[in-house]
């Protein structure tokens, strides 16, 4: 099981992240200040660290130094949308950043991406008779390869990572296509229909009225 350390001094935000990561199937621990975080990573190993910048005692950049020594990938959380701070964090060796406030789907997607980069996730995601190889970007169903377009593949990945979670059309659009969702296009629906047909998921990907879709397993 993948273990993630959340370093955040704001209790509500720490709990929010933990709640969602646990539901997504990760194991989480919380450190409420920089010193505590440094102590914890010295004792135990983690697969990923979510790190706030403005922390009591040791600030995020200092904790980042420790994490780098041990080799824990770090995504930092920042309330300051300033480019300078982002650049500083990334230069110091952080993998990614998440600007507060954030959407849960964005949080999960970024966590997933970094974990994949570090090969911490399973290479093969599977459900029902469908197998997804995240390295070679190939999908097989019952042993037979299925031909999917890039967008369809990403859409499938999003559904698999958010099993049983309602995905809003805007969330889907922003994660797969990127950019602002204007709320009127049929792009999302068309792709979901095609994906359903290709993989025979008519019963599993259910439309939620006025919201979007959910993968039910």
């Amino acid at each position: 099981m993948i273990k993630i350390l959340i370093v955040e001094d704001e209790e509500p935000i720490a709990n929010l992240i933990r709640m969602n990561l646990v539901k997504a199937g990760y194991q989480c621990e919380i450190a409420s200040d920089g010193e505590m975080a440094a102590d914890i990573i010295a004792e135990r190993t983690f697969d990923l660290m979510l790190l706030d910048i403005m922390l009591p005692k040791l600030n995020g950049y200092e904790v980042l130094e420790y994490a780098k020594e041990i080799g824990i990938p770090v995504i930092f959380l920042t309330a300051m949308g300033e480019t300078q701070q982002k650049v500083k964090g990334l230069k110091l060796g952080a993998e990614d950043y998440i600007a507060k406030p954030f959407d849960i789907a964005e949080l999960l997607a970024r966590v997933e991406t970094v974990l994949r980069r570090y090969k911490k996730t399973q290479r093969h995601l599977g459900f029902l008779d469908i197998e997804i190889d995240t390295d070679s970007h190939t999908v097989t169903q019952g042993g037979h390869p299925v031909d999917l377009t890039m967008k369809e593949y990403e859409l499938l990945l999003l559904f698999v990572r958010n099993k049983n979670r309602a995905l809003y059309r805007e969330t889907i659009y922003e994660n797969v296509w990127g950019g602002e969702y204007n709320g009127t296009g049929r792009t999302v629906d068309l792709h979901v229909q095609r994906l359903k047909k290709k993989l025979g998921l008519e019963d599993h990907i259910v439309a939620i009225y006025k919201v979007g879709y959910r993968l039910v397993i």
């Binding site: 001094d9 704001e10 929010l16 403005m54 009591p56």
Partner: protein
Amino acid sequence: MKLSWKIFFITTPIFIIFLTVFGTWMIQDSFWNSFDREVEQCMVENQMFQNAYELTINALPREQRDRVSKQKIVESFHHRDAGGSGARILSERKEVLYQDGGVVVPHGIQEKLDASHNVGYEIVKKEQEVYIVVMSTGTLDEYIETTKNISQIYSNRSQMYERYQIGVLLVAVLLGGIILLVLFFVMRNMQKLSRATRQFATGQYHTRVNIRSKDEIGTLASDFNWMANAMNTQMVQLQNEVQRQEEFTAAFAHELKTPLTSIIGYADTIRQMELTPEETDMCADYIYRQGKRLQSLSYKLLEMTLAGQQEVPHREIFVPDFLQEVQRTVAESLLEKQLTIHVEAQSGVIFGDRELLGSVFINLIDNARKASEPGKNIWVYGVAVPGGYTVTVADEGRGVTQEELARIAEPFYMVDKSRARKEGGAGLGLALCRKIIDLHQGSWQFESEPGKGMRITVRFGLPEVTGRERARRRRTARKDRKESKKAEKSRYANRHVRKELQH
């Protein structure tokens, strides 16, 4: 063309022209004076010759007159001067009756003489020399002609002209030089000034002009320096202001985004997932609490903005009364936490706005309350000091470290975030106090050690006022004290309403 050359080319020719005209007039005048004198003298000499001649002739017996030669007669009274002069006696038919051997020049005076004009003169030029010839006729029908060389006064004149020309030339050169020198000196200062201005304009704000002269340029230079200093001061102030503003904005953005993150995140969780009722309750609770936090933040912010905009009325406040008022306001909340407050105030006054200053001490006491364990004491001392008044708020609470002390009044700084949040703080209390104290030109001082409590001393100065102003203030203060008692009731009501809003 440079200003110095302009001035030079205008003044020097004008000066030379005036000098020349004046000099010419002087020389000409003196020449004509000498000339007139010379003419007069010649006339007189001629007349004397005539008189002497006639007297001598008349003195001779009639029979001897024709026998004695003219030569002898004349020589009895006339001696020829050496060089340049001469005398002749002519008959009516221009026969020379006598000649002394001096110069003879041609002239036409004889024809012009008649019965009414018996004397005349003429200026005759002959071989570079100038002669004056005077001819007169007497009772004897003989013409006396005297000639005198007056080249001297002419040569005097041209000599003077020459000298004068050299003089004018010398003066012109000297004067021009002096003018140029002075102008260059003045212009050098001007150039310095203009260079400094250009440097200043290109952003070298430390540029100053070093001109010590006491003239207009010197004044201009010191004005420039004064302006530069004033601008620098203002610029530094503006920069500080901008920096403060930026820091405040950054801190504010952080303070705003933190509760927003929770609110958006939990709301997103609720709408996306099927949660257990306990989980939903937890999410809702977080959303509510963080929403409350935003509300409290907006209230404090509003208060701060209002404090910044207010024009502070500097009214006299009698401190013992004022502190008791503050004590009454905070009494209830202190009682809840079983804290005891001791207020001791010496008789004295401070100047300012009662309401704003009240909020300062309420905030300070409230901070002390938050930092104190139940059962402890809080002290408020008012001490009249030379030139002012100090109010100290001391507690037996947790205290803070030196590093925290330095940052304590920064907006949104919280020594203990989690506890401050629980107490409903937004991290703006001391920032607000500082703003108000600044408005009153006061100062403050913190003393603290972890575990040993905190002492905050606020010092108010006495504004320098005239006797009349002081009297006016005393009058308004008296009025104020009466009004404040009335206002107190309504203030209590206001605060009550505000508390209601916050809870």
